[in-house]
């Protein structure tokens, strides 16, 4: 219990530091988006217009501390002002539409890759002298060594263009109205197959090898020999005695991978024109939509910290020695 409280304190501190950086960074840069806007109009805007726009976008005057407090309040109240790019839609609204898709894409593919990868890694290392253990890991290493974009484009070309059996754009068929009905759910699944599949294909090998390395260490332990001498079933020795212990070092890697999976989904969303946060972020950067960029970075920070905290909780449950 002490451990969890301590970790919670750590993550809250990390969150405060991260959002403070998020606050300072744009202010350290010369100028602001309005200056960019001003230069884009080639000086045809006068000072009062500029001030009005500035206020509308929430760039307020006052001391740095006042600004910081206002910034904190805007985060707590989730009122992050309007987006420059999609004015007058609020940043919260823009993100609210894109975020669920990214969570679905990033976490969905990570979870599937984990389940497949850890299962293969466990089985392949326990039966490492057999056909499966000899053949599957090298094949996966081969596949995963392609850069992600190449794999994604190959899938895109084969299934999306040549065979034309899977959609290559959007999160669901735009003709459908979103809701809990079969047509919509099927359409979402169909649209997710290629982007998710490509991420899974590239990600799965990492988990196979992570798990296999951990397993091979564990399989040399005396308690594995003892479990076998006890006449327990191979499945039980493989999962409960070996896999259970091998998952501990892998769990740490999973916690870190959650953050990366959000970053990784940016590229996927661009390749498959998937309407998630990555796509929005890219558009925001091109348009210098500072409020939007800031908010997305904030979301990423929160996502990574939350994921790590959950991973810590899971770790306590996995390894009883930790909580001491």
């Amino acid at each position: 219990m002490h451990y969890i409280v301590r970790q919670l304190g750590f993550y809250l501190t990390a969150f405060l530091i991260a959002i403070s950086f998020n606050f300072m960074l744009p202010r350290l840069m010369p100028g602001d988006p309005l200056d960019a806007l001003f230069s884009a109009t080639q000086g045809r805007m006068d000072e009062t217009q500029m001030a009005a726009i500035r206020e509308m976008y929430g760039f307020m005057d006052g001391s740095i501390i006042e600004q910081y407090l206002a910034y904190l309040y805007s985060i707590i109240s989730l009122d992050l002002g309007p987006s420059v790019l999609m004015f007058p839609v609020s940043v919260t609204q823009v993100i609210g539409q894109a975020l669920p898709w990214t969570i679905f894409l990033a976490l969905g593919s990570l979870i599937v890759a984990l389940i497949i990868g850890i299962s293969i890694g466990t089985y392949a290392s326990y039966h490492r002298s057999g056909f499966f253990g000899q053949v599957v890991p090298p094949v996966l290493a081969f596949i995963s060594n392609f850069p992600y974009v190449v794999t994604a484009l190959i899938l895109f070309y084969i299934f999306g263009v040549q065979l034309d059996i899977l959609p290559i754009s959007y999160t669901y068929d735009p003709d459908l109205t979103p809701g809990f009905h079969w047509d919509f759910i099927l359409s979402v699944i169909k649209h997710a197959i290629l982007p998710m599949g490509s991420m899974i294909l590239v990600g799965v090998a990492t988990w196979v090898f992570n798990m296999r390395n951990a397993m091979i260490n564990v399989l040399g332990e005396d308690y594995i020999t003892m479990a076998e001498a006890k006449g327990l079933s191979s499945t039980r020795v493989m999962t409960r005695y070996a896999g259970r212990n091998a998952i501990l070092p892998v769990a740490t890697a999973i916690a870190m991978a959650i953050g990366f999976s959000f970053a990784g989904s940016i590229l996927t969303e661009v390749v498959f024109n998937y309407q998630g946060l990555g796509n929005v972020l890219l558009k925001g950067i091109v348009a210098r939509d500072y409020p939007l960029i800031q908010a997305i970075l904030l979301i990423l920070v929160v996502a990574v910290l939350t994921a790590n905290f959950i991973a810590d909780l899971v770790y306590v449950w996995l390894d009883p020695r930790i909580s001491k």
Partner: protein, 318 residues
């Protein structure tokens, strides 16, 4: 006492290594009688643990049982089908491994490590298995409150007791003890051995006790076998082997340990270092370290032979 429980005939175990084949157990034959404690002695790497592993057929690559048979109550362990082998393991032969620190899984509770073996071999319900687990812990002198502890919450001696409790779970006919007390201090070692002796009186199982400590073995074992470089070189009644060793290696081994009870004596070691199994000489394996090595020892491998029916020695200098 005379009924044979386990019979090992001409057992050979090889380690298949990239730079050759190392024969860790070379043509060993011995038997364990019902209710008997057989001690197996020898230095590190002499093949005593490898031999013990064979009895439960636990070897995995690169180890390979290349020859021989292991008959448990007449049934060849090495020819058992996987299902029969699983049932045979622990039901008939259980193992107490070298160090209890490592033979208990650190993240599984004592309760589960006790009950899973019971439930794997019997039709006991979860509740019955747990009652049996409590009973077993009490047999080895651990309070039942400890049932749901994890190994890291117990001391070294308690962990070794837990391992012994697990070994007793199915009341096997034979318990293999591979240096069960090496990791413990002498006081705890003594406690556990005394307890073991009492348990043996109660349950009547046989013990294959593996150790390099001959003086300890002379106390607890009925017979002692001594191994060197994979060969069984001397076998006889415990007191005989310990007090009147015949093979020069056994003599060296006996004089390497201080006597607990007797007068002060100078300790003599065995000169040289263990044999490289990948580079065995012609003739006797012990020749390079033997004080009485002569021409025949460099030519011919000595066979186990006996003067008296109870004593076997593999040496040309009989």
């Amino acid at each position: 006492m005379s009924e044979v429980l386990l019979e090992i005939n001409n057992l050979c175990v090889d380690y298949v290594l990239p730079n050759g084949i190392a024969r860790a157990v070379n043509n060993v034959s011995l038997s364990i009688k019902k209710g008997e404690t057989l001690g197996l002695a020898g230095e590190s790497g002499c093949g005593k643990s490898t031999l013990a592993f064979s009895i439960s057929n636990l070897h995995k690559a690169p180890a390979l049982i290349s020859e021989g048979e292991i008959l448990f109550q007449g049934q060849d362990v090495l020819k058992m089908r996987p299902k029969t082998l699983k049932a045979y393991r622990w039901n008939n032969v259980s193992v107490v491994f070298q160090s209890a620190m490592n033979s208990l899984n650190p993240v599984i509770s004592i309760a589960e490590q006790l009950t899973d073996v019971i439930r794997a071999h019997t039709k006991a319900s979860a509740k019955d298995a747990e009652l049996r687990a409590i009973e077993l812990l009490e047999i080895v002198g651990i309070h039942k409150e400890r049932l749901h502890s994890f190994p890291y919450q117990l001391s070294g001696g308690m962990r070794q007791r837990v391992v012994i409790a697990i070994a007793l779970a199915l009341e096997p006919e034979l318990i293999i003890m591979d240096e069960p007390t090496t990791a413990l201090d002498v006081v705890v070692e003594r406690e556990i051995l005394n307890q073991l002796y009492e348990l043996k009186q109660t349950f009547g199982f046989s013990i294959l006790f593996i150790s390099h400590d001959l003086s300890l073995m002379a106390e607890i074992a009925d017979r002692i076998g001594v191994m060197y470089a994979g060969n069984l070189i001397e076998l006889g009644l415990a007191k005989e082997v310990f007090h009147h060793p015949i093979h020069p290696y056994t003599k060296g081994l006996v004089s390497s340990f201080p006597s607990i009870h007797g007068p002060k004596e100078t300790l003599y070691g065995i000169p040289g270092s263990p044999l490289n199994l990948l580079d065995k000489p012609q003739g006797c394996d012990f020749q390079a370290r033997c004080p009485d090595c002569h021409h025949k020892c460099q030519q011919e491998v000595p066979r186990l032979s006996s003067d008296t029916p109870d004593r076997l020695v593999a040496c040309h200098n009989l």
